[in-house]
């Protein structure tokens, strides 16, 4: 835990403060004002992101600090785009974006080191940006899906007694499904781009590296979810929701544990 006094660090704290204000406005149902504040938060975050890009002279997606900064800055606009694209607009969703942004910005602001790093030769590839960006985008969507799935599970316990045609649980389950439908092609594309890049940089399109295996486990988890849901439709909404949440658990392991722990040594250990 350390405070950052760099320009980017201070801007991250400023963004967190603005997002917190947005969250409060959202809770007291000042929806218009919340959207306005969200735009300001994004502009502050974007300034930090661009300043970081200029300072390190490459797209800021190299280490954990930069990855979490990118995730935090782009979560709100991606959330908005996902709402437009899927037509999902439950009252919880905008609230969820504010909370997720705060959760994601926290490690960027207080945990990970922001020491600038030069790109080693292997990372200087035209595939670096697309590979990481596509993964970030899909992770954000999967996180939002897991939030919906979590709400689905919660409402299943509390509110499904009244046998409506459209229980809130089913609604949340469908929202989660839609978001996974949007995120899964991107997750796959990230995996493919990584594999092609691996072939060009390391000589092999698959290296059995712990991070590669965990990312394949994520992909297979969602694959299982699609096949399971095709078989049982919405007959078992709780199991569907658990699959989506497990998918996010695997993603978090892929993103964090593999990079930070010594259990999985491998070529992707760039964050240590």
């Amino acid at each position: 835990m350390q405070l950052k006094y760099s320009n980017e660090g201070l801007l991250i704290y400023a963004m967190m403060a603005v997002v917190a204000v947005g969250l409060v406005l959202r809770v007291i149902r000042k929806k218009q004002a919340a959207v306005f504040v969200a735009v300001i938060a994004c502009l502050v975050g974007l300034t930090a992101w661009i300043m970081r890009w200029i300072a390190v002279e490459h797209i800021p997606m190299q280490n954990m600090f930069e990855v979490f900064l990118t995730l935090g800055v782009f979560l709100l606009p991606v959330g908005l785009a996902a709402r437009r694209f899927t037509g999902i607009d439950p009252p919880s969703d905008g609230l969820g974006d504010f909370i997720l942004t705060l959760i994601i910005l926290f490690p960027a602001g207080f945990v990970f080191s922001d020491a600038p790093q030069k790109l080693p030769p292997a990372l200087q590839s035209p595939l670096f940006g697309p590979h990481v960006a596509v993964y970030m985008l899909s992770y954000v969507l999967m996180a939002k899906a897991a939030l919906q799935a979590g709400l689905g599970l919660y409402h299943h316990c509390t509110g499904c007694k009244q046998l409506n045609a459209h229980s809130p649980c089913e609604d949340y389950e469908l929202s989660a499904y839609l978001l996974v439908c949007l995120g899964f092609p991107l997750l796959s594309l990230g995996l493919f781009l990584g594999s092609v890049w691996g072939k060009l940089a390391w000589g092999d399109w698959w290296g059995w590296d712990p991070k590669e295996l965990w990312s394949l486990a994520c992909w297979l988890m969602y694959l299982f979810y699609f096949h399971w849901r095709y078989l049982f439709r919405q007959k078992m909404p709780r199991t569907n929701c658990v699959c989506v949440i497990l998918g996010l658990v695997f993603i978090i392991i892929t993103l964090l544990w593999v990079n930070l722990s010594n259990v999985f040594r491998g070529m992707h250990n760039y964050a240590s």
Binding site: F85, T86, G87, K118, P120, P121, A122, Q124, S125, H166, L174, Y177, L178, C181, L182, F184, P185, S188, L189, F192, S195, V196, W197, K199, L200, A201, W202, G203, D204, W205, W206, G207, W208, D209, P210, L213, W214, L216, A217, L220, M221, L223, F224, H227, W228, L231, V258, V263, F264, R265, G266, M267
Partner: protein
């Protein structure tokens, strides 16, 4: 029957997912061995057959071209993986009666060529059937690299700055060293039967250093070190001294030419991320090093078995997934709006 296959497929995905998690705990090398072991080879073939069977049996797939593309893409990737594995390559070589060349390394000095590579797995030499010549090898740094004099002997290794003057204590056993002189363009002439060193004409350059080693028993020896002839040694030299550049490497580039039967057949400036492709092989910039014969480049030679199938699979999957899920999201949106 159909239901059985579907359930089997569902179980197979779950098992593969668990296998991946298990493999992640093994580390890359052990995981590679595990996933290439005979029981797992049987598993991979079974998985591919199951997927193929599913495509034949499920008529619903035939009516949805995007879903068909997705499953066909998966089969291509699995086939490419089977073909590209060690066992797959070995089998292909025995069927086509061509020599089987495993992934191997080439160690090349600038201006030389070689057709002998060394196997990655056990370092055994093998003949490539073509030779690779290194015209030039360059290392590019971020900013200006710092030059140091790297001193090696049986007693240890040390870096010292190449500036004239101060004494450096290497260790109690190895004694002391001092840079006596620095030359940007060293020339040696004979004076009264003795060699005398001085600065030569400014047009050329021959950076060199004169070092003085003092052993613990006060024996003094002098050594010349040349930037351009890093392996330079004379009788009585106890240390191997090589000038080395230290800094963050931006890129390293090998200017390479491939010869078959003495004729040049391919050429490229190989960089990290930009390999040379020739006759079923990719040749990569792997690393570099320096020894008594000077700086050398290490190139990795990898056969490209199955890579096209795998990348073709990625292509089909990308198209299939985007098409399928775009349709899915659209229809679900419409359904929601109606309700």
């Amino acid at each position: 029957m159909k239901n059985g296959i579907y359930h089997l497929g569902l179980a197979a995905i779950a098992v593969l997912c668990l296998l991946c998690i298990f493999g992640a705990f093994l580390g890359a090398e052990n995981a590679r061995a595990f996933f290439n072991s005979i029981p797992l080879a049987v598993w991979w073939i079974g998985f591919t057959v199951l997927l193929g069977g599913a495509i034949v049996v499920f008529r619903a797939l035939h009516k949805r071209p995007m879903l068909l593309l997705i499953h066909a893409g998966c089969i291509l990737i699995l086939l490419g993986g089977l073909w590209g594995s060690r066992a797959g390559q070995k089998m292909t070589a025995s069927i086509t009666d061509k020599p089987w060349i495993e992934p191997c390394y080439l160690k090349l000095y600038p201006g030389r060529q070689s057709s002998t590579a060394y196997r990655t797995t056990d370092g055994q030499p093998l003949d490539l059937g073509f030779s690779v010549g290194l015209n030039d090898f360059q290392i590019h740094y971020y900013g200006n690299p710092v030059t140091v004099l790297f001193i090696q002997s049986d007693l240890g290794q040390w870096d010292i700055p190449p500036a004239k003057g101060a004494d450096y204590l290497l260790s109690a056993q190895a004694g002391k060293v001092r840079v006596l002189e620095t030359f940007s363009n060293l020339k040696i002439r004979m004076e009264n039967g003795k060699p005398v060193a001085s600065e030569g004409p400014a047009v050329e350059s021959n950076p060199a250093w004169l070092l003085e080693f003092v052993s613990p028993d006060d024996k003094v020896t002098q050594q010349f070190v040349f930037e351009k002839f890093s392996g330079h040694a004379m009788p009585g030299y106890q240390f191997l001294v090589t000038p080395q550049k230290r800094g963050m490497v931006r890129d390293y580039i090998s200017d390479v030419q491939v010869f078959r039967d003495g004729q040049p057949v391919a050429a490229k400036q190989i960089e990290v991320n930009y390999p040379l492709h020739y006759a079923g092989f990719h040749i990569y910039q792997d690393s570099w090093g320096q020894d008594e014969s000077g700086q050398y480049s290490v190139l990795q030679v990898v056969p490209d078995c199955g890579v096209r199938l795998v990348f073709g699979g990625y292509f089909l999957l990308t198209i299939g997934l985007s098409g399928h899920f775009a349709r899915k999201i659209n229809s679900l949106r419409r359904l929601r709006k109606c309700s």
